[in-house]
């Protein structure tokens, strides 16, 4: 079936280090959204990418959508303790159905 995998599953970094999570789909996606979920919380929308090869930046966060629209990445520069949480990509398959990735849990050590 349709799957969206994320790697790594877990990442522990020292505060100030960089972090990257990768999202890979078995099928072409219409668009991709990224969400952050804090422990005990709900997913919070970060950004949406629509165009092939698109790159967007939000302060220390850089998001990229692959040329084939099958993969995406989120890079955080100089992590802070406030970046702790699980990062999910969610790919739009067709018109209405979002498939969430398996998530990458980030821990930042002060």
């Amino acid at each position: 079936g349709q799957q969206v995998m994320q790697i790594p599953q877990y990442q522990h970094v020292q505060e100030g280090e960089d972090f990257t999570t990768y999202c890979n789909s078995s099928t072409t996606l219409s668009n991709i959204q990224w969400y952050k979920q804090r422990p005990g919380g709900h997913p919070v929308f970060l950004i949406q990418l629509v165009k092939s090869g698109e790159v967007k930046k939000q302060k220390r966060l850089t998001f990229q959508f692959g040329e084939a629209k099958k993969n995406s990445s989120l890079h955080i520069t100089a992590t802070q303790t406030t970046d702790v949480g699980t990062y999910f990509c969610a790919g739009l398959l067709g018109t209405y159905k979002y498939i969430f990735g398996t998530g990458t849990r980030l821990k930042v050590l002060a």
Partner: protein
Amino acid sequence: DAGVTQSPTHLIKTRGQQVTLRCSPKSGHDTVSWYQQALGQGPQFIFQYYEEEERQRGNFPDRFSGHQFPNYSSELNVNALLLGDSALYLCASSLTGTSNQPQHFGDGTRLSIL
């Protein structure tokens, strides 16, 4: 401006029972999607409602059904509960029309099946 609200926050049921979960979308939103999130997993798409109709469904059995009311609020019903239905059920709302819109999630209903 109220965000997405869900009720109840927690629920405990036994196998074979039925449950109804409720969701009020963010003000101005008219599209509601339901997700099931098992512990340590990503949310899985159950279905989406728009204009009181189910317009897309994920890989969930018919035991999962829903409804959307004229005020855009929505219910998720699950019949013949199984132990495997234990999860966090999330409601997400978005703006009209296409799915090129951010989804706003509620805090979810934690359902435990004994």
